[in-house]
């Protein structure tokens, strides 16, 4: 049985005063995060035309910002997808069960407790005391976050459930111009980091990791792990790096000193130094390649 409840929502933005502590983001929604020197976490929901072919019986154009809830077999969960044509909702107001923080119409649950701000997928009451997560795989958000925060970002759930639910996506989760400490866990999705000073601990299963040091040089610990995707880094040639790299192939046009070079069963492992080797960088691409390119 497929049940659809359609709601129409307009442009949304929410500001939360929070500049010290840990920002936990636990959502499969596509988020573009930017750091800034401010005191508020600013969440914007992006609206643009999107096309979805979720099911052979359901093909439609829709605007991000609208919602449809599908009831799926209990064996997994229930999903909420943004969808439908905006014009269908014109002049109507949402009825029925609502996401937990409906006032901002973001489709996210935002919880603040001592030293933590937690943003996760919205929940819906499933009856019989059941709460279902609304997994917004197609939502798009832009977040501005203070540089003074520590970011923990999990692109699925932060608390491990018994069931592994993962989302495959061709788009990257992107973080840019952030100066705080970062932990990112992603599954079957790529991670893009642009001018993130770190320390950075990022891992993905089945996704790529792309890092660009455009306006900054690496100065803090970087640990990047991808089981099966590539790791590609663009950096200035005056970077002072001590890299431990493990992957299928390691390719570069930088003038590295090769301290050790081992060919193992399934991978190649190297210790590389650039300009003395001060900043530690650990790169594990599993079966994927590692690309180290100078700017």
């Amino acid at each position: 049985m497929l049940l659809c409840i359609i709601t129409c929502i307009n442009a949304q933005e929410k500001k939360v005063a929070f500049n010290k502590g840990v920002l936990k983001i636990c959502t499969s929604s596509k988020i573009n995060i930017k750091g800034y020197d401010g005191n508020e976490v600013i969440i914007k929901k992006l609206n643009y035309k999107y096309k979805i072919n979720y099911n052979p019986n359901f093909k439609f154009d829709y605007n991000i910002g609208d919602t449809i809830r599908h009831s799926l077999p209990d064996s997994i969960s229930r999903y909420l997808y943004n969808s439908t044509e905006k014009k269908l909702g014109e002049g109507l107001t949402p009825i029925g069960q609502k996401v937990s923080d409906q006032s901002d119409n973001l489709g996210l649950t935002i919880e603040q407790k001592s030293g933590e701000l937690i943003i996760r997928d919205g929940t819906v009451n499933g009856g019989a005391n059941k709460q279902y997560s609304l997994i917004n795989g197609n939502n798009r958000y832009e977040l501005l976050i203070p540089n003074s925060l520590k970011l923990q970002w999990n692109t699925s759930e932060c608390e491990k459930s018994k069931i592994n639910v993962y989302f495959v996506s061709s788009n990257s989760w992107e973080l840019s111009n952030f100066k705080g400490e970062v932990e990112i866990t992603s599954s079957y999705g790529s991670i893009s980091l642009i001018d993130v000073s770190g320390p950075v601990l990022a891992n993905t299963i089945g996704g790529n990791i792309e890092v660009v040091f455009d306006k900054i040089v690496p100065e803090n610990l970087y640990s990047l792990i991808s089981n099966d995707g590539h790791i590609a880094i663009r950096l200035p040639e005056n970077s002072n790096l001590n890299i431990h790299a493990s992957g299928n192939e390691i390719l570069s046009n930088l003038d590295f000193e090769i301290a050790t070079d081992k060919i193992l069963d399934t991978a190649r492992e190297m210790n590389l130094k650039l300009n003395g080797g001060k900043v530690k960088m650990n790169l594990d691409a599993g079966f994927g390649n590692i690309y180290l390119r100078k700017n």
């Binding site: 491990k160 592994n164 601990l201 891992n203 792990i225 089981n227 399934t266 599993g286």
Partner: protein, 204 residues
């Protein structure tokens, strides 16, 4: 009659005699030369110096040993504390420092690494700790802890690292947990694939 008997017999004739002053001077001169010659003085000085140096060396060695021992303890305590720090990057840096500084086994540090592979909340830290432990392949406790970690781990990326590590160690006792992972319908295909490959390798 020998000389001894002769002297005994004529003892009285000798006892009241005193050494003449001229002979006394000669005697003292000879005695001084015999007992306090320059070479003897030097030898004695050397002997005293050698004894003093030995004591000095012993004290220095004791001091350096105790100093380096306490430095090593201090450095180890710092690493153990860092491994339980609330910040993931600090814990990770501690594991990397351990790998660079400690080539030999240390029970307290191994215990700290065991805690990380079982309980740490960050995948990068867990994986680094596994990499650090695998180097102690002759340590039975390391093998037991890695098998125990595989049995309860739910994060696919960490599961894969544990599977590859136990396969590298050719740990036959991992076969059962590996088979359970293959049989578990909730295991990710990538994890099942690695587990199947590891079982094949363990059988060869």
């Amino acid at each position: 009659m020998n000389l001894k008997d002769y002297l005994q017999k004529n003892k009285a004739a000798f006892d009241d005699k005193k050494m003449p002053p001229s002979a006394r001077h000669v005697f003292e001169q000879q005695l001084k030369e015999k007992l306090h010659s320059q070479s003897n003085r030097k030898a004695t000085q050397r002997k005293y110096l050698a004894i003093a140096a030995s004591f000095g060396l012993l004290i220095s060695l004791g001091y350096f040993y105790s100093n380096s021992f306490s430095e090593e303890n201090k450095s180890r305590d710092l690493l153990v504390n860092a491994m339980s720090n609330e910040t993931a990057s600090t814990r990770l840096q501690a594991v990397y420092d351990f790998e660079e500084q400690y080539k030999k086994e240390d029970d307290r540090l191994l215990e700290a690494l065991f805690v990380l592979i079982h309980d740490d909340g960050n995948n990068n830290v867990k994986i680094a700790a596994i990499d650090a432990l695998v180097k102690f392949d002759n340590n039975e406790q390391v093998r037991i802890e890695l098998i125990a970690a595989l049995e309860k781990e739910r994060e696919p990326l960490v599961q894969i690292k544990l599977i590859q590590s136990l396969s590298l160690l050719r740990e036959q006792r991992a076969s059962e947990p590996l088979q359970r992972i293959i049989d578990d319908e909730l295991s990710l295909p990538a994890v099942k694939g690695n587990a199947s490959l590891a079982i094949t390798k363990l059988k060869t």
